[in-house]
């Protein structure tokens, strides 16, 4: 199963919100994956196939994972279209 990591600045609220929305969207799309959330520092040392984040963190994320950027962590339509592009 693929590992998807949702990232924000502090790893507290925003990344968790993104994670919950990503989990819901993946369920709707019928895709199974391990979804976790973290702050931008921790993300660099975590294993992931995909990292979903906002482009303000682009410069800070150090990882070989495929980066997917969304503007609004609460916009499920945007998340769905971004995930469809990469995962389908």
């Amino acid at each position: 199963m693929k590992n998807i990591l949702c990232v924000c600045g502090l790893g507290q609220g925003s990344s968790l919100l993104l994670r919950m929305n990503v989990e819901e969207v993946l369920k709707e799309m019928g895709i199974k994956a391990n979804v976790d959330n973290a702050d931008v520092s921790s993300a660099s040392s975590m294993k992931a196939d995909y990292i979903i984040s906002n482009k303000v963190f682009a410069g800070e994320i150090r990882s070989d994972a495929k980066k997917i950027f969304v503007e609004n962590y609460f916009d499920k339509d945007e998340i769905r279209s971004a995930l469809s592009k990469e995962l389908l």
Binding site: G9, Q12, G13, L16, R19, D39, V56, G59, Y73, F74
Partner: protein
């Protein structure tokens, strides 16, 4: 029969780890998670909860170097930090279960209010629910150490649930203008501060306020988004400045503090202590992330079933993308304001303000976005300064007067805007009913 209740009270409710485990377990079972998720989720929540305590001890250690150092810099005659307090480690070990219980019951109150009133907001910012409940409980148990938890739990749950429903309502008028949608709300303790920034912003913006987004700001400032880095940098600078001042002052107290470094150069020692502060925070945040990461999805699952048309009230950063420059102006206003207040408070009431970057950044930034809405970049700067004022003065009276015997260590870095505004109200209510 009462023995059974006593046993349950002491061994389950009284052991936070178990109570949290049960709440998360129930949440996962209600969400029909598979058995492996139930086991791993419950354990992760408990582990996260205990990690918070470990991180808190590190922070207290660093604060115990920071406060005396800067007290001496300001020439204050005695250590300004309360002494002999419980500390978050011990507080959480005693009351942690109640914190989790109040969060859960408070959340249920939130759901009921959302279901039956026009305020359809469901507060989903778990870490803020945790810290706010902890600080309020810290105030109540300081005023009345032997307070009956059978009384406090329902009352505080109702208060929290009401706050979590109404704060998003307060900011929604401006949120709709910022995000362009009514389907999301702000659920964050910057709430009252952000609202104030939007209200006061129009007085500095003039007739045609220049928006912060019309001003060009360098991309190089993006590293400010990493809280570990910015905390370490600021605390590091403050520790180094403090160390140099002490070495130059050469007073007896300075020599004593310098002696604590042993054979190590005092500046090197200070740098390490400041980074320990950032390290302690990083550990605590990791613990909260694990714990909240299991609790909040369960809460969300329950709320979507019960409240049709629920509007999620979420973390402050959701407004940042709508005015990224206002974020910087707001933070600048808060940061500079924080330093100014540090000097003012040190030289007047003799309190060493701990300017935590996390609070100043996240709250200052949100207030900046709200201030920019009505007052352009000047409104954003003002918003940041308003936050710094509330946080500096609030930290002072909360640490020194509202909860000095319980968790002033926590109030010094994790308490913020709305907590400082509502805290005194709880303090006086508890005093009346003592």
């Amino acid at each position: 029969m009462s023995n059974v209740f006593l046993w349950i009270a002491n061994n389950i409710f009284g052991v936070p780890a178990f109570l949290i485990g049960i709440i998360v377990l129930l949440g996962l079972v209600l969400q029909k998670s598979d058995i492996s998720k139930i086991i791993s989720g419950t354990l992760k929540a408990i582990i996260g909860f205990l990690i918070i305590n470990i991180g808190s001890d590190i922070i207290v250690g660093a604060l115990n170097v920071f406060q005396p150092m800067w007290a001496e810099v300001f020439g204050l005659s005695s250590n300004t930090m309360p002494t002999g307090f419980m500390g978050f480690d011990k507080f959480n070990a005693t009351f942690g279960g109640y914190i989790a219980l109040i969060m859960t019951l408070g959340f249920l109150v939130n759901i009921l209010l959302a279901r039956f009133t026009k305020f359809k907001f469901i507060y989903l910012t778990g870490h803020m629910m945790f810290w706010t409940t902890a600080v309020f409980l810290g105030i109540i148990t300081h005023v009345k150490p032997d307070v009956s938890m059978t009384l406090v739990v329902p009352i505080l749950s109702i208060i929290m649930g009401t706050y979590w429903t109404l704060q998003p309502a307060l900011t929604q008028k401006y949120m709709v203008k910022i995000t362009g949608t009514d389907s999301v709300a702000l659920g964050h303790t910057v709430g009252i501060g952000a609202w104030l920034s939007a209200v006061l912003g129009k007085f500095v913006g003039g007739k045609n306020p220049k928006s912060s987004e019309d001003i060009k700001i360098s991309e190089k400032l993006s590293f400010l988004r990493d809280s570990n880095v910015i905390t370490a940098l600021t605390m590091g600078s403050l520790f180094i400045i403090g160390a140099i001042v002490l070495m130059l002052k050469g007073t007896d107290v300075s020599k004593e503090l310098i002696a604590a470094a042993g054979t190590q150069n005092f500046i090197i020692y200070s740098i390490i202590e400041s980074i320990k502060f950032a390290a302690g925070i990083a550990v605590v945040l990791f613990g909260v992330r694990l714990f909240i990461g299991e609790l909040i999805p369960a809460f969300k699952g329950i709320s979507t079933k019960i409240v049709p048309g629920a509007v999620p009230a979420i973390d402050a950063p959701i407004v940042y993308p709508y005015a990224p420059n206002a974020v910087i102006f707001g933070f600048l206003g808060a940061f500079i304001g924080g330093l100014i207040w540090m000097v003012i408070l040190g030289n007047t009431v003799g309190y060493v303000f701990v300017p935590t970057m996390i609070v100043l950044f996240f709250h200052g930034a949100a207030a900046g976005v709200f201030g920019n809405l009505t007052g352009g970049y000047k409104g954003a700067l003002l918003g940041g300064f308003i936050i710094a004022t509330i946080v500096a003065i609030g930290q002072f009276y909360t640490v020194m007067y509202l909860l000095p015997s319980t968790i002033p260590d926590t109030a010094a870095w994790a308490a913020d805007t709305d907590m400082f505004i509502i805290g005194p109200v709880l303090y006086f209510i508890t005093k009346i009913f003592r």
